[in-house]
């Protein structure tokens, strides 16, 4: 039986791992050399966060070693939200997802800096600077391609934002653990995070002259192991080498 804290750390780790892999699919194919390197570097950072979170689960909650958690699990046991599994599509969608996810990630780790779970608070404070850069990267591109861009680039950003929105709302699922997490001083909760996220996203959208989409039903299910058709093929590809020899050392 897992605790609210374990569930929180696992869903954070799974989100980071899956999005890191999606981002890394741009490596070598980015829109310009400098951006290819920057985006790959961001992907690598996210993988590092996932690794650190799986390590906390291993050290504090008797979970297997990080590699086994990342590469040795079935699709149904992954608790990532569906948002991070979606294929990259074109660069507009990847950038919008990067912006929406990293805004939440930056705020989440900011809140966790004061967590009573000491290893989590320590990690949150350690990665604060790199998350700040990720957010700065995302916001600068969003504004550049919208209010400073061409008619086509702005239309593409708005379309990608509209498509991403219901999936993005799924990042703040579930809220059932909010009361327990907040009572123990672990984390103020997904609802508090979503509120802060909406304010921050609205602020950047205003600067980018983008329209914040109207809410439609959030795409849920990922946290309970119900995933889109895109996750399994991605896991097959991601775990291919590991499955050949799980005990191999690198």
């Amino acid at each position: 039986m897992s605790t609210a804290t374990q569930r929180l750390i696992l869903r954070m780790a799974d989100d980071e791992l899956i999005l890191a892999h999606r981002h890394s699919e741009w490596t070598g194919m980015g829109p310009l050399l400098e951006e290819d390197i920057a985006f790959s570097s961001i992907a690598q950072d996210k993988l590092g966060h996932a690794q650190a979170l799986y390590q906390i689960l291993h050290d504090q909650f008797e979970a297997p070693v990080p590699d086994a958690q990342a590469f040795g699990r079935n699709e149904a046991t992954f608790t990532c939200c569906q948002f991070v599994e979606l294929p990259n599509g074109e660069y507009d969608f990847s950038l919008v997802r990067h912006f929406l996810f990293d805004t939440a990630e930056y705020l989440r780790y900011g809140m966790l800096g004061k967590s009573t779970v000491e290893p989590l608070a320590k990690l949150a404070r350690k990665v604060h600077g790199e998350l700040k850069y990720h957010l700065y990267h995302a916001q600068t591109w969003i504004i550049q391609l919208s209010s400073q861009g061409t008619e086509e680039s702005k239309a593409r950003m708005q379309t990608a934002l509209n498509e991403a929105w219901p999936y993005a709302l799924g990042m703040f699922d579930p809220k059932d653990d909010d009361a327990a997490l907040s009572a123990d001083g672990v984390f103020p909760g997904e609802q508090a995070l979503e509120d802060a996220w909406r304010a921050s996203v609205a602020d950047i959208c205003a600067k980018a002259t983008l329209v914040v989409p109207t809410d439609t039903a959030a795409m849920l299910g990922g946290r309970k192991g119900f995933h889109t058709e895109y996750l399994q093929p991605m896991l097959d590809e991601m775990t291919e080498v590991y499955r050949i020899d799980p005990s191999a050392e690198w």
Partner: protein
């Protein structure tokens, strides 16, 4: 129509026709973003040293991209980016103005034989001291 099968599954997924005639893409001249020169400062107070350049549409994006190109490894305190167009330089045809520089040894500290004079002075001082003692 056969498509390209690559060891990289991402390439395979693109379904590129294997025997399609190679299209010649002619891009307009200067079909690139402008460049910015990047200066890296390893710690507070140190000189900013030129480390290379980046392509970017705006100064803000140049700084953003320079961070990952030139400051993702090793210690960094700050970065400067400067539009390449703002760099004033000599024309390569004028390199002859520097030609005699290596010969001007009298502009080097090493060219001055001060050591002999210092040694002579010290010796004189010591001799004087000995005279007082005796």
């Amino acid at each position: 129509m056969a498509t390209i099968i690559s060891l990289d599954p991402r390439v395979t997924r693109l379904s590129i026709e294997a025997d399609a005639p190679a299209e010649q893409v002619i891009t307009p001249e200067m079909d690139q973003f402008q460049t910015y020169e990047v200066f890296h400062q390893p710690k507070s107070g140190a000189h900013h040293v030129h480390v290379g350049s980046v392509h970017a549409p705006t100064p803000e994006l140049a700084l953003l991209l320079a961070k990952e190109q030139y400051a993702r490894r090793g210690q960094t305190h700050n970065l400067w980016v400067v539009s390449t167009a703002h760099v004033i330089t000599m024309s390569s045809g004028d390199a002859d103005v520097f030609e005699t520089t290596p010969e001007k040894k009298y502009r080097d500290v090493a060219a001055y034989m001060v050591r002999n004079k210092v040694d002579a002075f010290k010796k004189a001082q010591n001799t004087q001291g000995e005279e007082h003692q005796s």
